[in-house]
């Protein structure tokens, strides 16, 4: 088995009386595309939030590149090279697309002078080529808040790539995207994984997408880990089918 980039061990998180995550154990292999599925409210986004440091966890351990990160804050974890996108897309709505891209440069090795670096030159070129990669080049000078929801989602994805993360956690990347374009998005996710070498961990409801994309899938239900395995394992797992179709 290849090296594990993210290892989640026995993690629990409750909100008051609601047990959003109970004893979750999972891992994301370096260079892989890992999927997380489960019915609404099963704790997928909570798990993401725990991993990226959005809230403290109640128990368990989360390791990134074999270092414990469960006590770190969001910004520190992001600077280690782990980024997430949001289910409700979040971009800087008053700036244009190129500015959105340029501000997303990595802060992992930022020196004192890079704070005051000019916005022209290499950074801008890279911003524009990544916008081209996601198909937003023609919209690059528009105010990003004026873009459609789907375009904003693509922009958020491009911003994440601009940051050159080691691993990218995507929360429902295809939700709200025009069905004819989902194939294009899958293709881009795969290319980001293969060509840019970014490990992906994807929450997804669209079974066609996740079965095509991921090499390993975890299925959550009611805050617990229900099953895990390859796409075909899960497709034939009665527990997963029941959880999704509301069986007993």
């Amino acid at each position: 088995m290849s090296e594990q980039l993210i290892s989640v061990n026995d993690v629990s998180k409750s909100y008051g009386g609601v047990h959003a995550n109970v004893d979750i154990t999972m891992s994301v292999a370096k260079g892989s595309i890992t999927g997380i599925i489960g019915p609404n409210g099963c704790g997928k986004t909570t798990l993401f939030n725990s991993i990226v440091g959005y809230h403290p966890i109640d128990k368990g351990s989360i390791k990134f590149e074999n270092a414990e990160i469960s006590k770190l804050r969001v910004g520190d974890i992001a600077r280690l090279g782990m980024l997430r996108t949001f289910q409700q897309t979040r971009i800087y709505g008053k700036m244009n697309c190129v500015d959105n891209m340029q501000i997303s440069v990595s802060h992992r090795s930022s020196s004192k002078t890079s704070i005051f670096a000019s916005r022209k030159g290499e950074i801008k070129d890279r911003a524009e080529s990544l916008l081209e990669f996601v198909g937003l080049y023609s919209k690059r000078n528009l105010i990003s808040g004026d873009l459609s929801f789907g375009q904003q989602k693509l922009l958020e994805f491009a911003m994440a790539l601009m940051n050159e993360p080691k691993v990218l956690l995507l929360d429902e990347p295809t939700a709200g995207i025009n069905p004819t374009l989902i194939n294009g998005l899958i293709d881009r996710l795969r290319r980001a994984n293969e060509e840019l070498g970014i490990t992906l961990c994807v929450i997804e409801h669209n079974m066609r997408v996740i079965m095509n994309l991921a090499s390993k899938i975890y299925c959550l239900s009611n805050g617990k880990m229900l099953a895990s395995g390859t796409p075909s394992d899960l497709q034939n797992d009665q527990r997963v089918i029941d959880a999704y179709l509301g069986g007993s």
């Binding site: 990226v52 969001v74 910004g75 992001a78 600077r79 980024l83 997430r84 949001f86 979040r90 971009i91 800087y92 709505g93 008053k94 700036m95 244009n96 500015d99 340029q102 501000i103 997303s104 440069v105 990595s106 802060h107 992992r108 930022s110 890079s114 704070i115 005051f116 670096a117 000019s118 916005r119 950074i123 198909g135 937003l136 080049y137 023609s138 919209k139 000078n141 528009l142 105010i143 004026d146 459609s148 789907g150 375009q151 693509l154 911003m159 994440a160 940051n163 995207i177 025009n178 004819t180 374009l181 294009g184």
Partner: protein, 353 residues
Amino acid sequence: MIARNDAYIYGALGILGILGPIFFPNYTLSIAYLWMMVLMASTWDTLGGQTGYNSLGNITFFGVGMYISAIVQVSFFYEGGVGEYTSAMGSIKPVFTESQYFIGLGLGILAAGVVSVLMALVFSSFMFGLRGPYFAIGSLGLAIATAEITITINYVGGASGISMPLFPGDIEFRSTFFYILCFVFAVAAHFLLRWLYSTQFGLAINAIRDDEDKAEAMGIPTLKYKRIGWTIAAFFMGCIGAVAGNMAGFIDKEVAYPIPTFGIFMVAMVLLGGKGTLWGPVLGAILFHVIKETTWTYLLNLQWVALGLILIVNIVYFQQGIMGWLQSKYPESFGIAIDASREGANVKSGETI
């Protein structure tokens, strides 16, 4: 196009700045206060407009700068020390030679800037945990608390204030000298900010304004950026406070911490001109100052009513201020691209969504 417009504006302001006091010598100090207000508005906007942290406490640094400068100027050349000088309540009037006075003033302004920076660094370590209205009120609390603490310190004259050292020269030279200081500081602050906003720093603080949690999630060290922004404002506010104290000649709590006037004016000026823009604060400060001086002259007793009315119209009808309103009306002139294809039918099919 923008570049050419800017050149015209700089030309006009430069002419006003240089020829104003020559042709209208009676208004020299009034124009000096104009530049001071331009500086206050511009540096307020760094945090308030560009970063989205509405500080009501920037005036703190103005007052601190004023007092620090007074301490330095007196202690540097008066042998009895600051305590003896202030406890005499102005009856001691040491005569400074020209070089003593100007060196003392220079050091005083520098110390004012440095101490303000240090204070901003300390304040920012706990103030930036607050957001939105909590930051605004918290920073106002800082200003009020600093003002109250200042008058309990007998070393700097307590509630009875300090008389500043006398200016070694006639009254016209005095006006011109302080005028030049105000003008130079305003110009320096403007060009520093202009450059800053053109760098990655400018983008980062705008990102914090638009969505701070997202910025944090993208790894932007938000505290560092907010801290730099506030520190720059503090530096200039401290320096200009030192200048203002010497212009006033006598400083006490009211002069040093004018919270209900300059403290609020600097916010009002930015809102009038358009926050989050380079020129908005400049335009707002000039308009505000002209309106203020006019109403103080021709509508005496009603000046606050007039000012209040203008603020209400501004907030109700032009929330984005003049520059913001112009930008939304003529976006192309500001280099903002508009998607023509979205005007009519929505999105065309194809790879670009």
